[in-house]
Symmetry: C2
Subunit: 880 residues, 2 copies
């Protein structure tokens, strides 16, 4: 038996494919048309040519499956019977639209032909049908142009030239000023152009038009922009083609009783359960979109066309009930008769997504688990940061990368020092830098936002800003930033100076002139409810990366169940201690080092006390010093000279020391646990600070759970040695204080070798944390700071489908993680494993962590809710 | 039954432990004493206390096994019976030596006590025995001093002070000027000192002396220098202690008919089959070593003491026959009676090792396979480079690391440009640099040797020099090199200037003043023979890393079976093309790049033609451009300014371009196949040059086997893309030329990710080569250029037993290699895998490659014979 390639839909007869998900046969649009028809929704009748036909077309040298053309003829015949119209009829012509529709929405990427079926005969019929001669001739003119361009590949401009010529001759500016005769002339000229370019007459036969139209839609599946769209939107190669929807035309511009509109079944901005939409009478769909006339609010229809309104809202309710979601619906009213042209799940803001999901549970349409899957975790981000007031007037002056969400408004400063200085005077500042370095952290912290000229989504500025929840626009390469003379030159040549006000939106990367008002987010009760469902569902523990009591507090409010990563190095940069840190680094002897470390110890201890207090009763993983020491030294000779003065040593000597610390590849250099191996006194100081802080807090009756983490381990003997240092130091502190504090020892897995020998390491620790940033760097051999030179190109060319620094590379890095996890658990079933790289807050990566049986993820405070929801989705999602 | 802890040896009775290798019970020295006695060699009788006793001692709180002391007493009794001497006898006293002896030789690291048994009584006996009162008192004096120092831990200097005091009083300078009375006074004062420091009388009881002596030897196993020695010499922890050898003393200084000597059964320098040794009459062992008197050649003994000589040489022959090797023997003649005190396999030069191994096969003592195992592969190095004339007078002025073997003599120059300039004038130069960079390669190539102030054994200078077979002393940190003013300041303050002559020895890292004559190596027929046996035995193919026809020629002469790695980037630095290379790099558009590449193409082609000719009939793997592009640009602004002038562009523009190419971590940056991914035109140029070169050579009737290798692959799509570029380009060249050339496509495995996804990559290539340098860097997270900051400390502290850049880390990197190998072969059984990092020429790493089933190793030309032998040893060695 021949395979079925067409599916008819009409009030009288609807064919539904017998498969689980009809979208993969009929495409998204076709599925909705068939489904709606089935539900009794008034949809103009038509038929769908299946995606399989398109697949066949590409696999068989652009031929149709045998018999398909006959079947199409039969469908047309049936359509003619049902509508009482006829292809090419002078009296009551059947006109159809031919539209693409893949399984995945690819808006505007593929081709559409409208008004197909018009010819010298049916134009007369259309005049009769519509009673509007100009409308009919304009439709014919448009059809020829669309057909010539879309189906035959003629240049759009060639048609426009003719139109301009006729308008010029008549001395008018606009299309609407052409009358019937003018349009007839245009049609004539169009046909002549067609003959000249194509070498044959414009086809009068509607069946020929139809065949060519279907061909064109099939071919448009592989036009360059469609291919690009699929690549950019990471549409899987399993999505193999487009269906073709052939549907009888309806017109919203036939007369006073006709119209067209779009509507949402609930408010897509707020989620409020209230119909929301607009319509225009005497108009076609494109008129609404084009915004030439101001459309009416949907509510007005209740008075203007009460019957239609009633029918329409009944359709809304019907569709919501069927799809169990807020729907986005396009409709047309033709001579008072309602037709639904399209329906799909409506796009919505994060806030609306949450409210709708929670409401649908209240309305018993969804279970809690289904509701969890309805909110894109990423969209919660909108709920967690200040936003640009959508109603505010604003002028865009530059655009960079949306590196850290939220909006910020302040006066431009060019150095971290200035930022701190101005902030002390209660000024709001935006820190503008070519790029940031660890020295800038304090300045970043006091700024309302950060704007950088260089660097990508994972640049220092971006990573640190996200960690702080500070908004950031990075890599704003269109502007030129001169830190020396303190100016920003915009692309249009305008200059911004220190002190000028700007507003940046880290959610979309836009920079605005002056002060744009921002609005604070409100976390509604629905949000909390959804999160509570998510917490019930998820298996993964969600921790946070937090370096300060403030971060810890925010994260805890956002639901963090502990700290998965405290980076102690950020503390080293604080103004009151960086001098001692530098003294320590530049020491020649252990004695000098110990002396400088003693100055830092008390301050570190008080940092930790603050964090422990905020995280009372929850575990806190503190990573020992990680970055190469030279990161703490001034890069510029001027600063270094100043430091030499303060330290009372010769500048030359200090410079030689700094230069000797410089590295060719600092990422692979003298850092991580290697520091503690060579200078155990640093580790000892940090462990004392941690344990003594824990003791101090415990003495106040609070519960503390410190976990001391060794970074950048590659050899078991490193861990063995440092575990000794840690336990010896800790036990000494504890026995001195006569207080009991339980502490754990942990290690980072961030080097391929540590994943190969995890079973050896597992004997020394109770917890492992994958540092997937570094692990990605070493597994791929990509330096995060340098990969920008080719990674963009790689993604563009489809070599990489995603940036592995944003979404975990499950095939390579993930494989090493699975190996490590298996090895670790084989030695110690109780050992906990988690992830604390940037990936810890990325939904796909979180899903992977869930799948391979990890115990926790840790992410920046502002991503905690996202991670909670993503972890829940991973747990709830049906397994494939 | 109690465990046996002592083993007696004498002509009458010898106890041999019933184990496979008696060394692990008796220690090396004990085993040889027992074995020699068993063979009938005249060894002074005695007994061995086993290593197990030492092990027991350490495991049981420094106690002896039960009954051991009794057994020792029995052994002493037996010794007294056999020798007719008696402990403490006034007439015929038994004196013994107590010496350490572990399973592995640790010369001078542990303790020895001689003349044990002397006291107020036996001194009289010794006088009678020897007829030499002064000798007896001097022996007594020495014994007290040795016992006090070694056994009781008294300061050596305290005894020396007394000796000086007595000499001072008498007004003499030397010990020999003290007479019997003086010595008696010294003994008295020594005893008083002993009493004062130890709190008891010097022990008269020989048994107490013995017990304490044995204790001291046991304890010396764990003295700091012994521990350090074991760590430094990587002695496995399975070697658990020292045996104690208690042996009756014999004296070579009793009279005219006594003497002592050392001998080798063959010449240890040349391997010549001729007894070789020295002896001194009326002397003790230490006199020979101290070099106070000039010893006689062994041949003289044939006339002087014909009977002893006959007996001695008979022992030589006997021991050689037994041990099937050249032996190193210590002997003493006591009143005309020969005693053998020690025998062991003799240390020898590489040349001697080869000759002896081959001769022993000729003499039917060894099989070919046994002979293969007899030569340390590393020692062949000595046969392949010019050497400092051993007889030349020379003055050492500095010492660095022995970075690349061989000796070189020349005038100092400080820049690569000067080196080339001077070389053009036929001057011999030594290139002296703080450190070298790829720009210096041409200069290094024309120099006689390279001396650097910084960097380790795997620094750029070291690696490149070894690759070139140029000698190099690296990291000579004692001197201070000032390249600007062109001087070297030595540690003693002396200054060397440009043009001064120096000689460097890259085999030991020594720098000599002035011109020291060097001798060229000669590869004897024996060497060739041994190599032919090795070639028969080995399974691994041995290829070479060669970038020039000259290297290829040398390597082929050394037995390379093809090229495993040709680095094309070295060619880019040649004077005639670096300008075009820089133009290419600094191009803004593809057109400019293609234009610059066209200039390089012809030159590259002729490079390849030269290599193909030299390697006729053998495979040649050519790696596509690998290093980051900025390596080709001038680092200094002055040079860049010059380049800007030559290129006719603005300096500022060029500098901006160069700065934009700079990277934070170039090792993980825009390099390897990433270059070809972004600029496929570079790959196309290189492929055209390779294939057209192959065509040109093939047209001359020579067989060429090019293998085009893609470096630094981390993702399968990179390989898929570049394989397309390679095959398309190659096919185009081949079809144009109408010539048939078989070529292969290969890929480097040098990133962890490539080892995780090797099964994906294997579909695209016929050959894989592990780049273990980069793989070690990324697996450990060690930058080779920076790891010096901690790797030394790691090895010192035993965190690492070996530098993983020198000896493959089998546990981590090796595990990834095994994984990759398995994955590759699972997809394609015929696929070839090899290794082409520095490890390809290192014997232990080669053994690992053999074990895991690799197909080839590739190493620098001068290591090819080493690799051939090491591969053979790996194949021949008995499996554990």
């Amino acid at each position: 038996m021949a395979k079925k390639y067409t599916y008819f839909f009409s009030k009288q007869k609807t064919e539904v494919p017998d498969v689980e998900n009809i979208k993969f046969v009929l495409g998204g649009k076709g599925a909705s048309l068939v489904q709606m028809t089935k539900l009794g929704v008034p949809v103009p009748p038509g038929f769908v040519i299946s995606i399989d036909a398109c697949d066949y077309f590409y696999k068989n040298d652009r031929k149709y499956p045998e018999g398909l053309m006959d079947t199409i003829d039969e469908n047309i015949k049936e359509l003619e019977e049902i509508t009482g119209k006829k292809f090419g009829s002078k009296v009551n012509p059947l006109l159809v639209s031919v539209r693409s529709g893949a399984a995945v929405s690819m808006p505007g990427m593929m081709d559409t032909v409208l008004n197909l079926g018009l010819n010298e005969d049916s134009i007369e019929g259309l005049i009769k049908q519509s009673g509007n001669e100009r409308f009919a001739w304009d439709s014919y003119r448009r059809f020829i142009q669309m057909y010539g361009n879309v189906v035959m590949g003629m240049e759009h401009s060639h048609f426009e030239n003719i139109l301009d010529e006729v308008k010029g001759k008549k001395g008018v500016q606009n299309d609407v000023d052409l009358d019937v005769d003018d349009l007839k002339e245009v049609v004539k000229k169009y046909k002549a152009l067609y003959k000249k370019e194509i070498g044959e007459e414009f086809p009068d036969d509607p069946k020929k038009q139809l065949k060519n139209g279907i061909d064109a839609v099939f071919k448009s599946w592989n036009n360059p922009r469609a291919i690009a769209y699929r690549r950019i939107n990471k549409i899987a190669p399993e999505v193999i083609g487009t269906a073709v929807n052939v549907q009888s035309m309806v017109f919203g511009n036939l007369g006073d009783n006709s119209g067209t509109g779009v509507a949402f079944t609930r408010n897509p901005s707020t989620g409020e359960k209230k119909y929301y939409g607009e319509y225009l009478m005497k108009a076609q769909g494109e008129d609404v979109v084009a915004g030439i006339r101001t459309p009416n609010h949907l509510e007005d229809m209740a008075e203007q066309l009460p019957d239609v309104y009633k029918e329409l809202t009944a359709v809304f309710d019907l569709l919501e009930k069927h799809y169990k979601d807020m729907m986005d619906i396009e409709f047309t009213i033709e001579n008072g008769e309602l037709f639904i042209l399209q329906s799909r799940q409506g796009k919505r803001t994060g806030m609306a997504a949450v409210k709708i999901a929670v409401d649908l549970v209240k309305e018993k349409m969804l279970t809690q688990k289904e509701a969890i899957l309805r909110v894109e975790p990423q969209s919660l981000d909108q709920l967690l940061h200040p936003m640009i007031d959508p109603s505010a007037e604003k002028k865009e002056i530059a655009k960079g990368l949306p590196a850290s969400p939220g909006a910020g408004c302040g006066q431009i400063v060019f150095t971290a020092e200035d930022a701190m200085e101005w902030a002390k005077d209660k000024k709001q500042v935006i820190l503008v830098r070519l790029e940031t370095s660890p020295e800038d952290i304090e300045g970043m912290n006091v700024a309302q936002g950060i704007l950088t000229g260089r660097g990508g989504m994972t640049s220092h500025a971006a990573v640190v800003a996200r960690g702080m929840g500070r908004c950031c626009v990075a890599g704003c390469s269109g502007v030129s930033i001169n830190e020396d003379v303190k100016i920003v030159k915009l692309e249009n040549g305008d200059i911004l100076k220190e002190g000028d006000w700007i507003t940046i939106d880290g959610s979309n990367g836009v920079v605005y002139e002056g002060k744009v008002p921002t609005v604070e987010p409100s976390i509604s009760g629905d949000f909390a409810k959804l999160m509570s469902w998510a917490d019930k569902a998820r298996k993964l523990e969600v921790r946070t990366n937090a370096d300060t009591p403030k971060d810890a507090k925010v994260a805890r409010e956002f639901g963090a169940e502990g700290i998965g990563l405290t980076r102690t190095e950020h503390m080293f940069f604080k103004e009151d201690r960086i001098f001692a840190v530098r003294q320590m680094i530049l020491s020649d002897t252990k004695e000098q080092r110990v002396k400088a470390l003693a100055k830092i110890e008390k301050m570190q201890q008080s940092d930790f006390e603050g964090i422990f207090k905020e995280m009372e009763g929850l575990p806190v993983t503190i990573r020992l010093l990680d970055p190469p020491l030279h990161e703490f030294l001034p890069h510029e000779d001027d600063e270094l000279r100043e430091l030499a003065g303060e330290m009372g040593v010769e500048f030359e000597e200090l410079r030689a020391k700094r230069d000797s610390l410089a590295e060719f590849n600092p990422m692979l250099g003298f850092r991580g646990c290697r520091l503690g191996m060579v200078y155990p006194e640093i580790t000892e100081m940090q462990v004392r600070a941690i344990i003594n802080a824990a003791i101090a807090v415990a003495k106040k009756g609070l519960k503390v759970e410190p976990e001391i983490e060794v970074p950048f381990v590659s050899h078991v003997k490193e861990l063995a040695f440092l575990k000794d240092v840690i336990t010896n130091t800790a036990e000494e502190c504890l026995s001195k204080s006569k207080t009991k504090v339980e502490y754990k020892v942990a290690a980072m897995l961030e080097l391929p070798r540590s994943c190969v020998i995890t079973e050896q390491l597992a004997e020394y620790v109770q917890l492992f944390s994958f540092g997937t940033n570094d692990l990605t760097q070493t597994t791929f051999g990509y330096s995060r700071d340098d990969a920008g030179k080719f990674i963009g190109k790689y993604i563009e060319n489809g070599i990489l489908t995603e940036d592995p620094f944003q979404t975990l590379d499950t095939e390579g890095v993930g494989e090493l993680m699975k190996m490590a996890l298996k090895k670790a658990k084989s030695v110690n079933k109780k050992i906990k494993l988690g992830i604390c790289g940037e990936h810890g807050g990325e939904p796909k990566s979180i899903e992977f962590c869930h799948k391979i049986g990890m115990d926790f993820v840790s992410c920046s405070p502002y991503r905690v809710p996202i991670a909670r929801l993503a972890a829940a989705q991973a747990a709830v999602k049906p397994k494939k």
